[in-house]
Symmetry: C2
Subunit: 492 residues, 2 copies
């Protein structure tokens, strides 16, 4: 794959000086159109061989365009903060919002390739990473991002020559370290594993563009024009057609039996039993949290359920047991403007807890396959792909040490009506009930179908759903605590 | 993922008898519309737990619909013929053509899951297979296929009960073998690794549909209606919009330097040197073919190049050296009607040689990124994704023992003109030159750009491109033989 980038591509300085002003002007105008439009982000990956001019090119791109709408991020060692989250966390956090350009200098490709070169991983592990990258980039593209992948290349001879030249010049000798020669000694392995990775990730939607890095003028103009062409092409498609929805539609079970139908909503617990059990369970939870084993874990608890199913009360029975420094409750409402400018899961990556901490989500990333699906707030293609994206997200979390408990609090339609009416009577609870809540009831069956599909498609060994019979609040609260405790005990 | 399929779904026989006639009628009518339209194939995968009614359902689907346009294939052990080709070969060969339905009973999912269950593979290897499956299914969908993935499930209790019942009945006792109980002992492992696989392959475009298999009436109607809904939905989109072309356009190198420009087309060999070297090289090739090491290999040689670059003559210099039983020359022209009804690479899978044999392709699967691209015979999205698909194809071949040599025979524009004119003068060569050949010359630069991108994107360690300077026929023929011999020596 690197042959074409070993031809000795170059342009002379006069050509460079002649082409540059036009390129800059065109880039600036495309960039401002991008910003005004504000409908998609541009993600530029800058990777490749050391010394092939990656840093210089990134600096130039920043110089040529309006730096206020470019976000450049370099990724080196993971910070302490990042080490406590899944590997992809730091990339998610740095994704550019719609209308702007993000330059990622060192990206999700670096670690998989370098680990294989250094023999810290096997070929199978590399391919596993490649599979994850392909799914992640597909998500970015499905979310509308323009993804441009630039690889800067130098032939072995050229890289060696460059190191020697730097060494011979007393002014630059300090720039060449032992580490550089050590890395150079691995040139062939690096080339080989890079090739495999590029080959398997060069898709029709986001192909790699390989740029020979030896001549500064050539590589800069090439990078700039690649960006310009891609931007112009995309800006020309003002109204991007949505892709063909080729999915098998999810049909409801023909016998009408839903996961939720199998719940025994008559289950109940007496007040005295409740008080005794609650105290016992809360004590147990507090003890668990003090255990050493939990310090390397993060705990995520997802509360979903019918309106008025008692999520808030259940959450309080969990937090009552704990020191406030140990947990964080995140209520999920409509996304903010900042969040709408990012891929769907972005707002949840923001909320991932440190090790040893717990986050309780009052509603969650399942909104897309519940309310957004039922209310038609996103297209069918969007919520259909969300199941897989959510599974990937939770898979990453579990592999980086998270314990995920997902709870659906279920009440009957009659019970909900009773609670709605009660809320309207009690002044301080009245704010909790709106016209929308009554409207939602009309879609009871649509929600039941969405819950069915959600449980079927996202209840996994790693992160199972637990359905909580919640007509009786005492029973529900105890079962929430029991489920959480069992999940922690099983995985710590 | 299997919870919803353990609820004890069932319908009574009366309901079944009531629903069936309507379903059959609707399926038949959808099927005939599919055939008349003839624009896309339907691929149905039938997988899942043993005893969950997979076979029965497949039989029913065949009974309900017009069997002339359904192709059912069961995949068990690979046949001797199939063992000599890449693992995906047998599935490619059985893909249904456009307008028809293919039911694949046991599919590309079986081996990866079973190998992991039996501990013949690691988790990383399973994930590697999953990555390949995802790329393969993406190709199918990009080619327009409607892909329906049905998984028939039974809970552990239900499976055990079923085995016991069969055993207790003297009439069916023979059906339960030791093997069945052995397989049952692995139920939990099977469930676990199936879940992982389904989770990572359930995409927005081709989600898994999990069907509880205990009740025959329920599972049959569910399978039938799933198929019906999917068919109807797709048939409703008469003119499928092509998906958004989000690719970075491939821009030509700004300095105008092409891979082909670096060739020294003045290279030549004298007639006497040629005669001597030719004899030597042909002898060497013949000897190599007799070697034992080659018996487990297949050899593929791709000849591409400018019109009149001398592909035919070079091919003859290779075959002259060999016994006619050892090789097969495949000229690639426009696809036949049968081939047009299949994914692009299908026609090449047909031509894969047995072990110990060689196939010489006079033009090849690179047509899509050469002539089809330049002449606008396919969309940009189609040829852009072809690079990755071709790489995957060759990767599979190499992993199953193939040695791939890819040759581009390059002549100059002037040399081509000379040859065209000569051909027109010589009667028996006149048939070789058409008006189209002259037209193609006008697109010389477009072809040069296509060759550049092709070499850059598909020349890999596993299957590199070799550019042959072919203005001098003697030089070209010798270099072709040398390249082929070196490739065989390196890999045998």
């Amino acid at each position: 794959m690197f042959e074409a980038a070993e031809l000795g591509h170059k342009i002379d300085k006069a050509t460079y000086r002649r082409r540059l002003p036009k390129l800059r002007e065109a880039l600036l105008s495309a960039q401002s159109e991008l910003r005004e439009l504000g409908t998609f982000p541009v993600v530029i990956l800058v990777s490749g061989v050391d010394g092939a001019g990656k840093g210089e090119t990134v600096n130039l791109l920043n110089e040529w365009m309006d730096p206020r709408a470019i976000h450049t991020h370099a990724f080196n060692q993971r910070t302490n903060d990042e080490l406590q989250r899944p590997p992809m966390y730091r990339f998610w956090r740095k994704l550019p919002p719609k209308g702007s350009i993000g330059i990622l200098f060192g990206s999700w490709y670096t670690d998989p390739i370098v680990d294989r070169v250094m023999r810290r991983s096997t070929t199978e592990m590399l391919d596993q990473s490649i599979g994850e990258i392909n799914r992640f980039e597909k998500m970015l593209i499905d979310e509308g991002a323009l993804l441009i992948k630039l690889w800067f290349h130098l032939s072995k001879q050229k890289q060696e020559k460059r190191l020697r030249e730097l060494e011979e010049d007393p002014g630059t000798r300090w720039r060449v370290t032992k580490h550089d020669w050590k890395a150079f000694a691995k040139y062939d392995r690096f080339r080989r594993w890079s090739e495999r990775t590029l080959r398997q990730t060069s898709t029709g939607e986001a192909p790699w563009v390989i740029i020979e890095g030896a001549d500064p003028e050539y590589r800069s103009i090439t990078a700039g024009e690649t960006l310009l062409h891609a931007l112009r092409k995309r800006l020309g498609q003002r109204k991007p057609k949505t892709s063909l929805p080729r999915a098998t539609p999810l049909a409801p079970p023909i016998d009408g039996i839903r996961v939720l139908d199998r719940l025994d909503l008559t289950l109940q617990v007496s007040k005295t039993t409740y008080a005794k059990r609650l105290e016992h369970l809360q004590g147990k939870l507090a003890t668990l949290f003090r255990a050493k084993a939990l310090r390397d874990r993060t705990i995520l608890v997802v509360f979903e359920g019918n309106d008025a199913a008692g999520k808030g009360g259940s959450i309080r029975r969990v937090t009552q047991a704990l020191d406030a420094r140990w947990y964080h409750v995140v209520p999920i409402a409509a996304p903010t403007e900042e969040e709408r400018a990012q891929p769907y899961l972005w707002r949840f990556y923001r909320q991932l807890p440190h090790r040893g901490r717990m986050t309780l989500f009052d509603r969650s990333w399942y909104g897309r396959v519940l309310v957004e699906r039922v209310e038609g707030l996103c297209s069918e293609a969007d919520w259909m792909r969300a199941y897989g994206e959510i599974n990937d997200f939770e898979d990453q979390l579990v592999r980086s040490g998270a314990i995920i408990t997902k709870l659906w609090l279920a009440i009957s339609k009659e019970e909900q009506e009773k609670r709605f009416e009660q809320r309207q009577k009690i002044a301080y609870k009245r704010f909790k009930i709106t016209a929308e809540d009554w409207r939602n009831r009309k879609k009871w069956n649509a929600y039941a179908a969405a819950v069915d599909d959600m449980v079927e498609r996202t209840s996994t060994d790693l992160a199972p759903w637990t359905l909580i019979e919640a007509n009786d609040k005492y029973h529900a609260r105890l079962k929430v605590l029991e489920t959480l405790i069992a999940a922690i005990e099983r995985r710590s």
